[in-house]
């Protein structure tokens, strides 16, 4: 099915990117800002989806990869005075390195043990951030100074605090990661990842070193999430320990479940939907965690394939 027609999926994905680009010029200011944030967080969800949706590894600790990027980039600017692009690279490197170490340990386990181990490592990461308050600002967090948030590209310099620049940067990151994940999913490597999810033992007997494949998947997933975190620090100018808390490990799971696990566009849809539900609901109640909780339970009970997963099952079989 994957080799049926490559044109349709690419057209759809480019169409989504074009739509997001066009929205930048018509959205009112509030929604414009919100959508920029959603695109950055959707990158987080896409990184999570790669591991959870395609490889079938349910991590409860992805907040550590997001915040590795967040702090890696943020602190590089704040303490070392690095440029935006160097700091972004630092964030990616922190995420990749952390993912390598965590994967080597956590992949020795599977199933429920994998979930708990990843949750515990993330908790350690969170506590370390609190413990090193002198560097990280503890639970107060730190602001990345506006004057430092300038992206220099050749002779032009872009002010990341400008809403349009911010939106376009978020869109650029989102588009790159979306196309990367589409390419991965449609590649032979993507096929191996799905095979591991469906039946790891069988995949081994086709000659695949499943451990190495999973290791690579955790690193790619962790690096993408770190990219989201690094972009968050640089675009929105704040690094804080709440992004490392267990809640931020649960949120990408929720977004992906809602949008549809193992669909390339599901993470965006899930993040978008959840953000607006909370946004609307917060007009009536401050209890947004209640909505998160109810959504989680309803999803696993009645809607385990998510929005896009159900659409793919019913109508659009070609959806990647």
């Amino acid at each position: 099915m994957k080799d049926a027609s490559p044109a349709k999926p690419y057209a759809l994905h480019l169409g989504v990117i074009a739509l997001l680009f066009a929205l930048s010029f018509v959205l009112p200011e509030y929604h414009h800002g919100l959508l920029a944030r959603i695109m950055v967080l959707a990158v987080f969800a896409m990184g999570y989806n790669l591991l959870f949706g395609y490889v079938g590894l349910l991590s409860l600790g992805h907040a550590m990869f997001f915040s590795a990027g967040l702090y890696g980039a943020g602190l590089a600017v704040i303490h070392l005075g690095w440029s935006v692009s160097a700091a972004f690279a630092a964030g990616l490197a922190c995420g990749a390195l952390l993912a390598l170490v965590i994967a080597l340990l956590a992949l020795r386990t599977s199933g429920v043990a994998f979930m708990i181990v990843t949750m515990m490592f993330a908790q350690v990461f969170y506590l370390v951030i609190l413990y090193l308050a002198a560097w990280t600002g503890g639970d107060q967090g730190m602001v990345v100074p506006q004057s430092m948030r300038v992206l220099v590209l050749g002779s032009t310099s872009l002010d990341l605090t400008n809403p349009t620049v911010r939106y376009m940067s978020a869109l650029a990151l989102f588009s790159i990661v979306l196309l990367i994940s589409l390419a991965i999913v449609r590649s032979g490597y993507g096929r191996v990842l799905v095979a591991i999810r469906e039946n790891e033992e069988r995949t081994k007997m086709l000659g695949y070193d499943t451990f190495s494949n999973k290791l690579a998947a955790v690193i790619v997933s962790g690096t993408i999430c770190a990219g989201s975190g690094a972009a968050y620090a640089l675009l929105f100018g704040y690094v804080g320990s709440s992004f490392a808390s267990v809640q931020y490990s649960i949120l990408p799971l929720l977004w992906v479940l809602l949008g549809g696990a193992a669909t390339t566009l599901g993470p965006l849809i899930g993040t978008l939907f959840m953000y607006y539900v909370i946004d609307v609901a917060s007009g009536y109640t401050s209890a947004y965690l209640l909505i998160v909780g109810i959504a989680l339970i309803l999803l696993v009970l009645f809607f385990p394939k998510g929005i896009l997963g159900s659409i793919r099952q019913r109508w659009l079989g070609w959806l990647p």
């Binding site: 099915m1 080799d3 799905v194 069988r202 007997m205 086709l206 695949y208």
Partner: protein, 242 residues
């Protein structure tokens, strides 16, 4: 001629039970070897040891002159030992095409070339008569087709040794005839090790037969020799087919 596969004093115990007990076994390149024996004789454990799905308690396994006893299963597959499962375990949610593409893309040196993958997949599907069902999820294929898909996946690995664990189980008689043809074709390019209960299939296909009983090799020989062997008749043929 040097054997393709040799095991020396190969044993595996589960708890107190010696499922495979000091087996010395040799398989020559190009032959079709059937392994028969009553249930619980250790046949599946034996081929699982050869394929690396379980580790032996003691003994050595030599493939093509190299000691592979401590190699993980996936590395043995890469050396050319393919194993098709007794219980059909195709990837039910993937299309037949994707099921075969998995082994094809790994054996290609240039796995990025979609054209090469496509050619390889369609060749394997056509050889097993499944080309018309390429896009169907494997779980929705008929049982016989799922068994054929298993074989197609094994073939796509381009194995030097293909291990078939009860491949005709659950097949209709007409399907079995096609299957025998297919195994003969495979044997032109690979050595076949076949666990089989269906004696007519064994007698038609096998060059030589090895009989297992209680974890040990009871007898070994040509189909005629095995048919004439009194001990085998006592242990196996007489009880299950008499």
């Amino acid at each position: 001629m040097m054997p393709l596969l040799t095991t020396k004093d190969l044993s595996r115990s589960f708890g107190g039970l010696r499922a495979v007990d000091g087996v010395d076994f040799a398989l020559m390149p190009g032959e079709i070897r059937a392994v028969i024996g009553p249930n619980g004789a250790g046949k599946t454990t034996f081929v699982s040891l050869v394929s690396g799905r379980i580790q032996p308690s003691s003994g050595t396994i030599i493939f093509d002159g190299a000691d592979i006893t401590s190699l993980p299963a996936y590395a043995r597959v890469r050396l050319g030992i393919a194993y098709t499962f007794q219980i059909t375990s195709v990837f039910a949610n993937l299309s037949a095409y994707d099921n075969v593409a998995l082994p094809v893309q790994r054996t290609l040196t240039d796995s990025r070339s979609k054209g090469a993958v496509h050619t390889g997949v369609m060749a394997a599907l056509e050889r097993t008569g499944l080309a018309d069902w390429a896009q169907m999820p494997a779980g929705q294929l008929s049982y016989g087709h799922q068994r054929l898909l298993e074989v197609a996946m094994g073939l796509a690995l381009k194995p030097r040794l293909l291990i078939l664990d009860e491949p005709t189980q659950g097949l209709a008689d007409s399907e079995i005839d096609n299957f025998i043809e297919l195994v003969r074709e495979i044997a032109d390019s690979a050595t076949v090790l076949l666990i089989e209960h269906n004696m007519p299939v064994v007698m038609q296909l096998a060059d030589r037969i090895t009989v297992f009983n209680a974890g040990r090799i009871l007898a070994e020989g040509t189909p005629e020799q095995i048919r004439a062997n009194a001990a085998v008749q006592d242990a196996y043929l007489g009880t299950t087919h008499g």
